[in-house]
């Protein structure tokens, strides 16, 4: 009787609609693309499956930043660790290293290994740092994020340095249903090599769904509550019996595990790893996805990830081309060619990339600091200030 009271009404997940919309979109997206492109959906599906990597990363970072309130500025380092774990454990590459013997472990097992490896690094890094004040974690992760790709680049006898490692094993599924979508007749195939972009997309969607369910469970558990409490008031949480260091460490390493997991998927799909793909800008991009989407809210960060991915990897890439077409169509084709310091419209627009991205960040934070789809808590926190700090309105009254 009491239970009905609290399980009813207000405790309903306000995100149900968002989840349904996302799920429906995920299911209909390939069909829609297929119709629009007239059957040549592969290029777009590849992009979509890549976007899924960022969705995974954003969901994982959200545990760290959104749930536990820890700032991780080197998230891509764990991503790199996951990717290289796959490269080491599932390719011929080890033959040319001091080890001398190739290792080939199944993609699915490496996924778990990578999670474990990344989480271990998370613990090593987090355990000493999380006892210190919050900003220290940000700085330490920042440093770690700079170290890891450089180590992969410099330790070339093991990693082939800047060339990266290529020809990684193609993941295979134990069982797969073939059908008209891949141009075949209906049939079950075993040991199916995942090559088609649609297959990657499907796997990605399934992985994302599993992750969302697990993370959502965590969020609504004893641990999720503890994270929230630690984020709000560490001292009070500790006085109520929460081992704050342990709880934060758990969030941090779960986040790291996600990143490692996503790294392995990424490496498996690309069949290539290179130290250039894991720099600070990747860490920041993921952070931006989380913040912009709405820290602490899973559908929010998914939306944020998709949106930012689209802006950075699709829109900003295509913008120069659009600009060229545009100026040509309005008769200013003189702008297309470069002259003197002016590099031509296409290059000019592509140079705007950083500027536009920076501007988006600043404006969003100023106008909608809670993100596009914020969690209820975060929304309030950001509007009212936190704890005993004066609320924003009072301060402006004071200073003007």
């Amino acid at each position: 009787m009491l239970r009905q009271f609290w399980e009813g009404g207000p405790r309903r997940d306000p995100n149900t609609i968002a989840y349904v919309v996302l799920l429906v979109a995920a299911i209909f997206f390939p069909i829609l693309v297929n119709v629009i492109t007239g059957g040549n959906s592969s290029a777009i599906m590849t992009i979509a499956a890549d976007a899924g990597v960022y969705v995974l990363l954003a969901i994982g970072l959200n545990v760290v930043v959104g749930f536990a309130g820890l700032l991780d500025l080197g998230y891509a380092a764990f991503f790199a660790i996951g990717a290289y774990t796959y490269a080491f454990l599932a390719s011929d590459h080890m033959r040319v290293t001091p080890l001398g013997e190739p290792i080939h472990i199944s993609f699915w097992i490496v996924l778990l290994i990578a999670m474990f490896v990344a989480a271990s690094f998370g613990v090593i890094l987090g355990a000493p740092t999380l006892r210190l004040r919050g900003d220290y974690l940000a700085i330490v992760t920042l440093g770690f994020g700079e170290i890891v790709p450089r180590v992969f680049r410099n330790a070339s006898s093991w990693t082939s340095g800047v060339n990266g490692i290529s020809a990684l094993d193609i993941p295979s599924l134990p069982l797969w249903l073939q059908g008209p979508w891949s141009g075949d007749a209906f049939a079950f195939v075993t040991d199916f090599k995942v090559i088609s972009s649609l297959a990657y997309y499907v796997i990605m969607v399934i992985l994302v769904i599993i992750c969302v369910i697990l993370v959502r469970n965590l969020h609504r558990s004893r641990l999720g509550r503890a994270w929230m409490a630690v984020r709000e008031d560490e001292v009070a949480a500790a006085a109520m019996g929460v081992n704050t260091v342990a709880v934060k460490l758990l969030a941090f390493s779960i986040g790291a595990a996600f990143s490692g997991f996503a790294g392995t998927y990424y490496a498996g799909k690309l069949s290539l790893v290179s130290p250039e793909n894991f720099g600070f800008s990747v860490s920041i991009t993921i952070l931006v996805m989380v913040v912009l989407g709405g820290m602490g809210n899973i559908p929010g960060v998914i939306t944020g990830a998709l949106l930012i991915y689209y802006v950075i990897f699709v829109l900003l890439q295509q913008l120069p081309e659009y600009a060229v077409n545009f100026v040509s169509s309005i008769g200013l084709s003189g702008l297309v060619r470069s002259s003197g310091d002016y590099p031509g419209i296409a290059e000019f627009i592509s140079r705007l990339k950083f500027l536009v991205f920076g501007l988006i960040l600043v404006i969003v934070m100023l106008v909608r600091p809670q993100g596009l789809l914020p969690s209820r808590q975060r929304e309030q926190e950001l509007h009212k200030g936190v704890h005993d700090e004066p609320v924003i309105e009072d301060v402006t009254a004071e200073t003007t």
């Binding site: 930043v65 309130g69 700032l71 890094l125 000493p128 740092t129 006892r131 210190l132 004040r133 919050g134 900003d135 220290y136 940000a138 700085i139 330490v140 920042l142 440093g143 770690f144 700079e146 170290i147 450089r150 180590v151 680049r153 410099n154 008031d233 001292v235 500790a238 600070f280 920041i284 952070l287 931006v288 913040v291 820290m295 590099p343 140079r351 705007l352 990339k353 950083f354 500027l355 536009v356 991205f357 920076g358 501007l359 988006i360 960040l361 600043v362 934070m365 100023l366 600091p369 926190e381 950001l382 200030g385 936190v386 704890h387 005993d388 004066p390 609320v391 924003i392 301060v395 200073t399």
Partner: protein, 350 residues
């Protein structure tokens, strides 16, 4: 309330300072010792004049980092923000001064006269002032509205501003390295086979003057005292009638002037710059600030010097591909083993 948390952390620090802590300290000292011995053998092998040459270079390099690190530490000290855009303000200084040089008649290959000195001073002054104004505007637009928002919010705008500034520099000069006019005469003198050039003297001299000037300013002037008071306890400072907004703006201004001077000297010294110079230099300088004990201006100066020297020595004697790795490893080790930094006078707790 933070004071309670502080005590918790201090106590834990205290626990680590026990037996285990001593072992860790010992390990750290051992690492440093091994490094120094390694360095020593290399130094002996390669001769004293090479060492002296690197030393000169290292001190100049450290001087520039010290100037950047000061800006990080001052801003962090007063509003606890890692001002990511600071490195880009420094890079902006390098770009701007490069464009100002020809306007003031300073050209590569020209003769360097007494008039050139005044022109150079003007370039320095204008660059520093512009950087100051730029940084104040950044604070006003991007940070102040978020002063009472959770920490993450201003940090993200700081990253945004950093990208924005890099974007501006990118548009300005494109993606590749930009030559910076080499106007300082190549004159110099030789001791023990090493050349100490006019450039070295300029950079070292200006850095020392600026650091001492800053120390005096913070110690002696009203504004400097207000800055210290605000850094220590903003509410108390407010009660004492200190204009917090003005003090914070002044802190950004001063930090940026130093970065502007640093940027100009970087250009004059290395004769090159690139649009994302601020990112890499900023990270190293920030490491220096943490290394010295963030929030502590003497710490930043010394930290800058030390990190700059480590960088130069590593570049000179070891594989330069690993330099950044070494620096960031130091950063992490310092934070873990000695979170208050080298000087550790003021615990950056709040």
């Amino acid at each position: 309330m933070g004071t309670i948390g502080e005590a918790v952390r201090r106590r834990r620090g205290g626990l680590r300072a026990g037996a285990a802590g001593r072992i860790l300290d010992f390990a750290l000292i051992a690492i440093i010792a091994i490094f120094l011995i390694l360095l020593g053998t290399k130094v002996v092998a390669q001769g004293g004049s090479f060492f002296l040459q690197i030393l000169t270079f290292a001190v100049a390099n450290g001087g520039i980092y010290a100037l950047i690190a000061l800006g990080y530490t001052m801003v962090y000290g007063i509003i606890e923000l890692i001002n990511f855009a600071h490195g880009d303000v420094f890079a902006f200084g390098a770009f701007l001064s490069a464009s100002l040089l020809p306007i003031f008649g300073l050209r590569e290959g020209g003769t360097f006269t007494a008039g050139s000195v005044i022109a150079l001073l003007a370039v320095f002054g204008l660059t520093m002032l512009s950087c100051g104004i730029l940084n104040i505007s950044i604070e006003r637009i991007a940070y102040r509205p978020l002063r009472h928002a959770p920490r993450l919010a201003p940090l993200i705008t700081a990253v945004g501003v950093s990208f924005f500034l890099e974007g501006v520099l990118f548009l300005w000069k494109g993606p590749s390295n930009v030559h910076y006019a080499n106007i300082i005469p190549n004159a110099g003198f030789e001791i023990f086979g090493a050349t100490i050039g006019a450039k070295d003297l300029l950079v070292i001299g200006v850095s020392i003057v600026l650091v001492i000037g800053l120390a005096l300013f913070v110690d002696r002037t009203r504004l400097g005292k207000a800055m210290r008071a605000t850094a220590q306890d903003r509410d108390a400072a407010l009660l004492m009638g200190i204009d917090i907004d003005r003090t914070i703006a002044a802190t950004f201004f001063i930090g940026a002037i130093l970065a502007g001077a640093g940027g100009t000297m970087y250009g004059l010294y290395y004769n090159t710059s690139v649009f994302d110079l601020g990112f890499s230099a900023g990270l190293v300088a920030f490491t220096a600030a943490v290394f010295g004990g963030i929030g502590n201006i003497y710490g930043a100066a010394i930290g800058g010097l030390v990190i700059g020297m480590i960088q130069s020595f590593w570049d000179g004697y070891f594989d330069s591909a690993w330099t950044q790795v070494v620096i960031f490893t130091i950063l992490i080790l310092v934070l873990i083993f000695r979170p208050t930094g080298l000087l550790g006078m003021r615990v950056p707790e709040k």
